[in-house]
Amino acid sequence: MWRSLVTGNPMLIELKRMGRRMLGSGGLRPLGIVVSVLILALWVFILGLARAYELEPEMFAWFELFLFCLLIPPFLYTSIAGEKERKSWDILLVTPVSSAQIVAGKFFMGVAAIMVISVLFSGLMLVGEASLPPYDPWRVVRFQVFAGSFALVVAAFTLLASSWAKRSVAALATVYTALFVSLAVLPVVFWTIVDPLYHGYESSEVYETVFFLHPFVAFDKLAGRESTYGGLFEIAWYVGLTAFFLLWTRHRIRGSVRRKFPGAAR
């Protein structure tokens, strides 16, 4: 199982291809490297700012959550719909590669992107944390696990959208719309419609209950050390949702084969 999905998964070529896409290939490679160096320089600069001005790690945390919502979908939206567009999908389906291997391979692409962002932000947050005693690096680790698990949900959902969409642009639009509606529109609707009904502080409790999976709500609790089991509750939810979306994606892929060919699903 581990071998077929992880170490021996032929779909890992996706990681190499993603690296190329990010750093460019052939003539575009120098450009990709320049951009990466610029990002690193910016990172060092902010690191310096964080040291000099004692920036709170929370600030970075908010920004990181926002970046995950913004940057993870573009990594993955073409992963299945794009193969259909370029017509390589059929070629992949006639090989004995299993649907689980396809989903896992594509998903690792997202995981790799999440890890890069996570490492960059860990550095910033550790510096921020160090400037605000008491120094507690575990807080940073706990937050990275929390934010990472939320990012996994975004990645898995993007894959699912990509397996539904006929055109990859539609998948990207779907993911951004879903994120925008659930993370911004619904809370605003709550505060404008539900809040006046409650007169006062109870409404924020209701809000926290209804939006307990909203990463910013959950993060507030995590930062205020109010969350149950140090955020483990939300992390478990995120991991569960991720698994749900991945299984659903796999079901979609198998379904598209099975509908065409009853015995072909694997």
Binding site: G8, I13, G26, I91, V94, V97, G263
Partner: protein, 309 residues
């Protein structure tokens, strides 16, 4: 052996493939010919286990495409009528990926990749990116991809379309080589002459139905029950004509320029030999005596316009 039995596919009201049955043996290079929309791609996709037949079945070496498609997939190489390559990979990486997908061990892969690259004449392009290859090379890379797992059956959908004449000639040579390697090769095209010279079996499909199937020669005969023999004599055309018109199996004999007589002949090759012998014995000085090649395009048109059946 590939046995196709009553393969049938409908899309709503449209019958795309109508009760197709035929069988092919190793070494057969089968030219699957028909105009656009005839049902070639649909048939090939069904054989490739990508499209479920409405009815009918096919078996490859006894393995059923309906009940055991996974096993069939291991034994077929499918080249669709589009490239579907990954531009951002190197040639060897692309092949390595498919070798891995076909569960070929890491250690055996380099050797296999080398051999398919050599077969498709891409050895020098090993480290190149797919996007830098010419159309003909990309087409050969697609073919190389189909070969990494040493399939029994190759399904090539319109492989020659969009290639320049030179690339087309190279591709033909390559396909003929696959036949010599004892694979079953199905090559589709909407242009008959493109295939006739290297296929040993031909099937003509129109509106989903197989109008003709068999060795190239047999199909010709089916189309033209009479053969044309072109005879050139040194002199005495009138006497030769007289003799020919009286001979057995001769439907008609018409004189042309340069002492050439075109004979519509209904007999077999033995009768043809008898005719030549008789002419020579009767003192006609024969310079040339041979069967005229039939125009393949003409055969195709005659079959698909309903001149036969």
């Amino acid at each position: 052996m590939l046995e196709v039995q009553n393969l049938h596919k409908t899309f709503g009201d449209l019958t795309a493939v109508n009760n197709l049955s035929f069988s092919l043996k190793p070494g057969d290079v089968f030219g699957f010919i028909g105009p656009n929309g005839a049902g070639k791609t649909t048939t090939i996709r069904m054989l490739a286990t990508l499209l479920e037949p409405t009815a009918g079945n096919a078996r490859l070496n006894g393995v059923d495409i309906l009940s055991d498609p996974m096993e069939v997939r291991r034994r077929i190489g499918y080249m669709p009528d589009f490239f579907g390559l990954y531009d951002d990979t190197k040639v060897w990486e692309y092949l390595d990926f498919f070798a891995a997908a076909y569960q070929i061990g890491k250690k055996q892969r380099p050797e296999i990749i080398d051999s398919v690259l050599e077969l498709t004449d891409l050895t020098t392009k090993r480290e190149s990116f797919v996007q830098t290859l010419s159309r003909g090379m990309q087409q050969r890379l697609c073919l190389a991809r189909c070969l990494v797992h040493d399939p029994t059956l190759l399904l090539l959908d319109e492989p020659a379309s969009g290639l320049d004449p030179r690339a087309r000639a190279e591709l033909k040579e390559l396909i003929a080589e696959l036949g010599r390697m004892n694979k079953i090769v199905i090559v589709s095209s909407h242009i008959l002459p493109e295939l006739a010279d290297f296929c040993n079996t031909i099937g003509i499909i129109e509106r989903g139905a197989l109008l003709a199937f068999g060795p190239v020669k047999d199909i010709m005969k089916q189309v033209q029950p009479t053969r044309v023999i072109r005879i050139r004599v040194l002199d005495g055309v009138a006497r030769a004509l007289e003799l020919l018109q009286a001979a057995e199996h001769v439907k008609s004999a018409e004189p042309g320029e340069d002492n050439v007589i075109r004979v519509q002949f209904t007999g077999e090759v033995e009768h043809q030999a008898d005719l030549l012998e008789k002419m020579v014995r009767d003192g006609v000085r024969v310079v040339d005596f041979r069967e005229e090649e039939i125009d393949l395009e003409d055969v195709f048109l005659r079959i698909t316009t309903g001149a036969v059946h």
